[in-house]
Subunit: 390 residues, 2 copies
């Protein structure tokens, strides 16, 4: 696609001119729109749109035990597909073309990605307990391997996703990494989300979670760690040395009151790759990466008592890390006015996404989703969520 | 107006039925829309939309000295009117029908309120220095009095707005309150926004800011205090005893890295009236009260390490305190799905406002502003902001 009359963000400043994205020579007049790399949601559980708002405001453990886990025991491939499709509506409408997902019934998410025309890096959450998707960790590893060695729909990739150090044994963690290495895949896991997790790990192993993961060989350039809200300076150095990517999930950490704040300034200073994720819609409760940029920036500034940390440009780079696509934002929307600093406007006031260009095709054009019937997806989703709530 | 088939929030739960708002017998079918009290933005500087994004990310004092104050020296009644009109667009589109404003050229804001068809409680920011609006505090007090005793456009009310204890002398503060009492008006001021302000006050007077304001007789049921980010327990008791209203401005406090967090749980426990405000678009940078509810709730939960504080319902009550109007939100918007908890959805995911009913008239109907030409307002605003930037 050739984008004419583009006002665009080049990763550090606003420029004007002509852009190409994808091989086709079709032309698009971008007058009145700001072109940005489409957002990439680096950590979510997409089908948890089904649980948005359920048990809201409970303490983490009550919320999981009384609301989320019972609902998850009733999941089916069909329900997950419908939840993932609604998630795709929200991602597309907020300018996000790719996501890293950790959820049950990965085939359903893959089918949603294919239908929606966006990109997904999908992994089975490997845990030590039985779920409707697998009997045990052994079975989960087998499912993960079948995905890695099988064929995949366009724009879908698979990763290995052991849930966490507290839901996986050491043996399972090591085998998960071996699997990822065997197939050249990414490994993603939750780490250092709560203080309890860190303290439990230290009591058991004498090491903090990142040190522990390093000691068993899990950390390298293909390792993506989400949350990282409680890190020591030593762990920041390890993450830099190993070339890991760390995903900030500020809204979820704040909403679940995990207390810790990812040490963004230290991670950036050490050269660690950082990205941004919303976590699931059940703990955020939004998948909007523009919201997430604002909350991430505000959390860092407020936590550090320093208005200069985590400026808008840094959050934009985190939210679009690795993006291959383009999103377009209405330059005339009230939130984008005036044009003193378009990136500050987008990060702190948000914007109206008009178009989303993925793989040489508009999946959103002039505010209309082109790849599926949004109304039908919503109707099916409402029934699915009601069924799950029973 | 008679609202048929309404799904509405009654202040604590979702109900269904028929609603009346205003005397007319015109009927409105609210099928597919959630009716809520329209938001009330309890602290803003509306025309500072003109400065949105300017000098973003600077430290507070640099930002004021190098960017904001020089721009404010070039303000005119016409520029303020155009800035306030753009602010009205943003308020209306995000379901907000009333605001408490503290800004120069109050007549311009009053004219914008009248044109836009919403409500404004407007006050001249009284300071000790000269501005294009007045020569000195004496002149500012004179202007404030002329507003209080003069006629006012429909839906406009005036208040007395001494800026703060650090920009007003004790004499000016006392005379401002005397003026408010003389005309039965509200008094609003910034208080305890930064630690420096509190420490300076304590050094000078031996009292913390709220104690100090109480000692000079400024606190009663008509006093509205914004920010209150650094409060002692004694000050919380004083606020409760005097019946003051306190306005939480979480995004602005976080963005300017003021460090303090308004002690919402203690204020609520003491029975203090609490409201919510965005502050100006220059330090937020949004006027969206839905954003503000989310940020307020997340800040409290995260700061207190307690996921049960500041639940969605509490933020909704703060954001709609004193509301006389109705806003309608699309129940079928992706962010409002599923319908497990509509208020949690609205607070944490946001919503698409379709209609805004103020004083028996729709100022927004099916997504279109009915009271003025939005396109023309935006065009004039863009020129005004460019002129100010020179």
């Amino acid at each position: 696609m050739i984008i004419n009359n583009a006002t665009y963000w080049d990763g550090s400043r606003i420029a004007r001119g002509r852009l190409r994205n994808g091989p086709s020579d079709e032309e698009f007049d971008a007058t009145g729109r700001l072109a940005i790399p489409a957002f990439s949601n680096a950590h979510t559980h997409l089908a948890m749109t089904l649980m948005r708002g359920a048990g809201d405001g409970l303490k983490l453990q009550d919320w999981l035990d009384r609301v989320i886990f019972p609902m998850e025991q009733r999941l089916t491939p069909d329900l997950v597909y419908k939840g993932a499709m609604l998630g795709c509506v929200e991602l597309i409408r907020t300018g996000c073309s790719s996501f890293t997902d950790m959820y049950y019934f990965v085939e359903s998410a893959a089918r949603a990605v294919e239908t929606a025309g966006i990109r997904g890096l999908l992994g089975t959450p490997i845990t030590g307990f039985g779920t409707p998707y697998y009997r045990d960790a052994e079975d989960a590893l087998r499912i993960a391997e079948s995905q890695l060695k099988g064929s995949r729909p366009p724009r879908v990739d698979y990763c290995v996703a052991p849930h966490s150090i507290y839901l996986c044994s050491e043996d399972v963690l090591i085998r998960a990494k071996a699997l990822a290495r065997k197939y050249g895949a990414k490994l993603t896991t939750h780490v250092s989300e709560t203080r309890k997790e860190c303290v439990d790990c230290h009591r058991k192993t004498g090491l903090w979670p990142v040190e522990y993961l390093d000691s068993i060989g899990l950390l390298d350039e293909d390792t993506v760690l989400s949350h990282a809200a409680w890190l020591t300076k030593m762990e920041v150095r390890i993450l830099a040395d190993r070339g890991c990517t760390v995903v900030h999930c500020p809204a979820s950490n704040m909403k679940l009151a995990s207390g810790g704040v990812m040490p963004l300034p230290e991670l950036l200073a050490a050269g660690v790759k950082v990205a941004l994720g919303t976590d699931g819609a059940s703990s955020n409760n939004s998948l909007d990466m523009m919201h997430e940029m604002k909350i991430g920036s505000l959390l860092q500034k407020s936590h550090r008592w320093d208005a200069t940390v985590a400026p808008a440009q840094v959050l934009m780079r985190m939210a679009t890390a690795g993006s291959k696509d383009l999103a377009f934002v209405d330059l005339d929307d009230v939130r984008m006015l005036p044009h003193h600093d378009l990136i500050a406007n987008l990060v702190y006031a948000g914007g109206a996404v008009t178009d989303l260009l993925v793989d040489d095709r508009f999946v959103l054009r002039d505010g209309v989703i082109t790849t599926f019937d949004e109304g039908a997806v919503k109707r099916e989703f409402i029934e699915a969520a009601a069924e799950l709530r029973q």
